[in-house]
């Protein structure tokens, strides 16, 4: 997927995670010396962002803010039809409008979804570009389409792809013998869970600026993946990657929708080439809802067998998922991995329909799968009258694949259970779900989560020292808002005995040393160890230089407090600056994030606990408190780590309660492509959030023992609310978003059943 043009790729939106995030053992090398015993001064503390003030005072330049001399504004014309043949497109009138510099075709073949791009224009300003779009005459021949999952599954529904059925089998999974497992169970139940399509609502909509200088192309892009944009664009434009530079300094959110090349970057590049002027293309909120990806919907039917003592004997999953014209998400990972179970089986199907293509959305598949599985686990526990926390502990495993695979390098989920249960007051929960009385019912629930997040071996970073005493940390990663700049400064400063503000951080430029895309929780466990490696080499070199000054051997020197000093004798010291002053020219130290030792599974874990209130008269769910406990190895910066967790919970709450793409069967269009009707959580909906970390250091994952944290807090965040609602009212709402209509309906059904 990395190397392919993402626009035409048919793969699952989460496929690359599996190749990227889970199969890195092939890069394996010698066991790493770990820093696990080190006492750090900066690492692991609450450190303010080095660019925080710049961001909150509006001084940080986001891609949308950039204006180049002579820059044109590009706009994209989109199809209102969900499926159509394009009979003709007339660009002439638009082209002849004064101020319009180019109008080009962007479509090959038929229209596949409403919102698909058809043509693009570049003009001197936004107004003119808008007018030009109106002057493009397109003759469409509408064709039969399908935009609702249930309808796409019906026999004889309009076929979405010529060479694929609407319902297409995906890779499954099997271990042991599930039928035999069900046979051994005391109780076997089956339940179906559904999740709606979620849109990546980034604060900054997608935007790219392209500028050609002869054969060379520079792209300013709001992206999570400068290197992927460069490589994919090179392929689409058929030019060498070496001639493209991609820059991204500040970004207003991506959540996966900016993981690779997007259509606006291609349009900007083509328009810039045609006009020989820089061109900026920025998407509208509406386009953002239709064309840049989405989290696929899922329909997950779990069947599980359990013995009275809590042993899970077998689990099976039949999953259907729709990512529109592209594949859906694999939601089976939690079921395959998290809880002990010898026998497991997965059958998985894509549903194709005429809606915009999916893209990875923060923890693709795992969010949906965790909502399904962790809900099912609560229901299984309830069937045998067991406390769901005890049930999870009973089925705890330190090996992957439900206890049948290889050992986890580290797994702090048991500690997370313990800390979280204590913090939420687990004993206060209803012993029997729904046993409370009155209009407002309270409930407490939990959910566990797993993710990858080991980082990418081969990540490179440099530390550059200048004779004037200044230090650079350089890496071709990108800060997508999570605080990468700050963690780079922290790691470098820690190693050299300086303060974060003393480090000049350079990132967000594809000319810098390679780092992976910022997705899949890869960034910190890739970049931090690479930089640590470079900084250790720099420190080593400088200690050698300081040795003669201090008249001790290099090995007995430490860098601390802006000095090089003799270990145990801080008076024998020489200032950092003075040592650098002896350099005759700048010098660079290359660092690398090394491979992962074979034979272990590298995963992150987390457990969320929540308390909710349900108004049984209105069906309204109010989340009171969420406690999140994560095992992400060593935490580099507590402050930004906590922010990351708060953000994940906010998003998870939002999809649990509000978010859903609503498609119209008749027009084939999304009816809520705006932030009024596509509802996301507001500040008034956010409860008390307690982010906590299991203070563990992975012994072999990398030299800092750190794991990723991008996805993990998002994973159990929707499931935990559903499980808490179950505890409150005794009904499991098996579909997100859990809007009041669904809660009321469920309460009504329970009333009738009584």
């Amino acid at each position: 997927m990395e190397k392919k043009d993402s626009r035409y790729a048919m793969e699952d939106s989460n496929l690359w995670y599996e190749t990227y995030a889970s199969d890195q053992t092939q890069h394996s090398s010698e066991a790493l010396s770990s820093d696990s015993d080190k006492k750090f001064k900066l690492i692991g503390k609450h450190i303010k962002r080095i660019d925080g003030k710049k961001i909150v005072t509006g001084k940080a330049p986001f891609t949308q803010d950039i204006k180049l001399k002579g820059m044109l504004i590009g706009k994209i014309l989109r199809s209102p039809h969900a499926k159509a043949e394009v009979l003709s497109i007339k660009l002439d009138v638009a082209k002849s409008l004064s101020g319009v510099k180019a109008a080009i075709l962007m479509i090959r073949g038929n229209i596949q979804y409403a919102g698909q791009m058809v043509a693009a224009v570049a003009a001197v300003d936004e107004k003119t570009a808008d007018k030009a779009l109106e002057l493009i005459k397109v003759e469409y021949k509408p064709m039969p389409f399908v935009v609702i999952e249930e309808k796409a599954r019906e026999e004889g529904s309009p076929q979405v792809h010529d060479k694929r059925p609407n319902v297409e089998q995906r890779r499954g999974y099997s271990r042991g013998d599930v039928e035999a497992g069900f046979g051994k169970a005391d109780v076997v139940i089956e339940r179906t869970y559904k999740t709606a399509v979620e849109i990546h609502q980034t604060a900054e909509t997608h935007v790219s600026i392209a500028k050609w200088q002869g054969e060379r192309l520079t792209i300013w892009d709001s992206t999570q993946a400068i290197h992927s944009v460069r490589d994919q664009l090179a392929e689409v434009l058929q030019i060498p990657a070496s001639r493209i530079k991609v820059i991204k300094q500040y970004m207003g959110g991506g959540f996966g929708s900016k993981l690779g090349l997007n259509e606006q970057t291609v349009a900007a590049s083509m328009l810039a080439k045609e006009t020989n002027r820089p061109v900026k293309v920025m998407l509208t909120r509406k386009a953002n809802s239709l064309c840049v990806g989405n989290r696929p919907s899922t329909f997950q039917t779990y069947k599980g067998g359990v013995k009275k003592d809590g042993t899970i004997t077998a689990l099976s999953l039949l999953s259907h998922t729709s990512g529109g014209i592209r594949g859906g998400d694999r939601s089976s990972e939690p079921m395959i991995d998290v809880h002990k179970c010898e026998n497991a089986k997965v059958e998985d199907y894509n549903i194709y329909m005429n809606t915009g293509p999916s893209k990875p959305t923060r923890a693709p598949g795992l969010v949906q799968g965790t909502f399904g599985l962790e809900g099912f686990i609560e229901e299984l526990a309830n069937e045998i009258g067991m406390d769901p926390l005890e049930f999870r502990k009973k089925n705890y495993t330190t090996k992957n694949r439900g206890g049948t695979g290889i050992p986890y390098s580290s797994k702090g989920l048991d500690k997370a259970y313990e800390i979280g249960a204590k913090q939420i007051g687990w004993h206060k929960r209803n012993k029997v779900p729904g046993e409370g009385k009155g209009r407002i019912r309270r409930g407490i629930g939990m959910a566990a989560g797993i993710w990858w997040g080991a980082g990418s071996p081969g990540t490179l970073a440099d530390v550059k020292l200048h004779p004037d005493g200044s230090v650079e940390a350089v890496c071709g990663t990108q800060d997508i808002g999570c605080g990468t700049r700050t963690h780079m400064a922290i790691v470098t400063a820690e190693t050299l005995g300086l303060e974060p503000k003393d480090i000049t951080v350079k990132l967000g430029n594809s000319d810098y040393p390679w780092a992976p895309l910022s997705g899949g929780s890869l960034t910190t466990p890739s970049v931090a160890p690479a930089l640590r490696d470079a900084a250790l080499k720099a420190a080593e070199h400088l200690k050698g230089m300081a040795a003669s000054k201090l008249k001790v051997s290099a090995s007995s020197i430490v860098c601390e407090n802006f000095t090089f000093q003799e270990k145990g004798n801080p008076k024998n010291a020489t200032p950092f600056k003075e040592v650098l002053g002896d350099l005759s020219h700048e010098i660079v130290f290359h660092g690398e994030r090394k491979g992962l030792p074979e034979g272990y599974a590298y995963n992150t874990f987390g457990a969320h606990f929540a308390e909710v209130e349900v108004d049984t008269m209105t069906g309204m769910i109010k989340v009171i408190k969420v406690v999140a406990v994560h095992d992400s190895g060593r935490i580099i910066n507590k402050l930004t780590a906590e922010s990351q967790v708060i953000g994940g919970i906010t998003q998870g709450l939002s999809t649990a309660l509000f978010e859903q793409r609503i498609m119209d069967n008749e027009t084939g269009r999304m009816v809520n492509p705006n932030l009024r009707d596509y509802k996301i959580a507001t500040s008034m909906d956010i409860p008390e959030i307690v982010p906590l970390f299991v203070d563990s250091v992975d012994p072999r994952i990398n030299i800092l023992g750190t794991k990723g944290l991008g996805e993990p807090p998002r994973i159990p965040a929707s499931a935990v609310i559903a499980n808490s609602v179950y505890n409150a009212i005794g009904i499991h709402i098996r579909e997100i978003p859990m809007t009041p209509d669904k809660v009321l309906q469920a309460l009504k059904e329970k009333e009738v059943a009584r």
Binding site: T618, G619, M620, F658, E666, R669, D677, T682, P740, D741
Partner: protein
């Protein structure tokens, strides 16, 4: 977006004389929070936008012996903070504070709030030409209709978006409409709104060349109480799924007089007369209130996805009324 000219009249007379120029397509702009959205999304394309903000002295709240009058250009935030309003009409303050967001309340006006256009997603889709926009059908009827009308539909199933309107109607408010040649027309706010079957293109009786200038509310009688309860899906910045404005006179734990006007239920603010009749004079038990709602709901005609609003009517009435006793 089509380009438009902006006109900045300096008096209401200038507004009406601008309006009297024939053959020009005008739109009145108050705060612009809705109008500009409609223009940008290509739902409407006026040639001239008349900026009412340029008219001085159109945003005062005054009290005389019998009435409180509110100028149309009073912004929603000022309405909510006004001591006269706070003292006399809790329902209006609660409705004002329940709507939109602080930013929108600072800009949006009372007149604009009453005249704002529906948020039906088919109406707001530039590529869908529904009946309200001159097309031949309503797409909500068999389409996606979880937020649509359960009362008063038929031709068109929008719900009226205003929170202030139910509150003001429950208080028996009147409005002043200025027409051509200085003509003034006073009518009950309740008669201002009109159902799709009368004119599917509009939500009220305002003619093309008229402007709403003032709202007048009679001072409350002794023993009057009022409240607004709005059920929305999220904590803020959300239109009513179902809301109820309730005003009346309570004595001895019983409503002697009651008016119930709902938002989110119908193309116009919807009065639950059957509920009023049932509840009036009875002891206010949960059963009585809910039965009142049920009586009113016998006239409801929910669509495929909005039956849940029926249950919410009961919940909203119960919550609102029980907060008054």
């Amino acid at each position: 977006m089509k380009e438009f000219k902006i006109a900045q009249p300096k008096s209401l007379d200038q507004v009406t004389s601008l309006l009297s120029q024939k053959n020009t397509d005008y739109a009145l702009m108050a705060g612009g929070t809705d109008l500009l959205d409609e223009i940008k999304n290509k739902i409407i394309a006026p040639e001239v936008v008349i900026d009412l903000k340029s008219v001085p002295d159109l945003s005062t709240i005054k009290m005389d012996k019998t009435h409180v009058s509110i100028d149309a250009m009073t912004c929603v935030a000022d309405l909510a903070e006004n001591p006269i309003i706070r003292e006399n009409f809790p329902v209006l303050v609660e409705a004002a504070l329940s709507l939109a967001s602080p930013q929108l309340r600072n800009v949006g006006t009372v007149g604009g709030n009453l005249c704002q256009r529906p948020r039906c997603w088919y109406y707001r889709d530039p590529d869908t030409i529904c009946r309200k926009k001159g097309g031949s059908r309503c797409f909500a009827l068999r389409g996606r209709n979880r937020y649509h009308a359960i009362f008063g539909g038929g031709m068109c199933y929008i719900v009226h978006p205003s929170d202030l309107a139910p509150a003001l109607i429950s208080l028996d408010a009147e409005i002043t409409i200025n027409g051509l040649e200085g003509k003034k027309n006073i009518l009950r706010l309740e008669d201002f709104f009109t159902l799709p079957q009368n004119n599917v293109r509009k939500e009220n009786v305002l003619e093309a060349r008229q402007v709403l200038s003032e709202i007048r509310i009679p001072l409350p009688k002794n023993g009057s109480k009022s409240t607004y309860y709005k059920f929305k899906e999220r904590g803020t910045w959300d239109f009513a799924v179902v809301s109820a404005a309730i005003s009346g006179v309570i004595s001895g734990g019983v409503f002697r007089d009651i008016k119930i006007v709902c938002g989110g239920l119908a193309p116009i603010p919807w009065r639950l007369k059957k509920a009023e009749d049932f509840i009036k004079g009875k002891n206010l038990t949960e059963e009585v209130i809910k039965q009142g709602a049920k009586e009113a709901l016998t006239d409801a005609r929910p669509l495929e996805e909005n039956t849940y609003k029926m249950g919410l009517v009961e919940a909203v009435l119960y919550t609102a009324i029980s907060s008054m006793i």
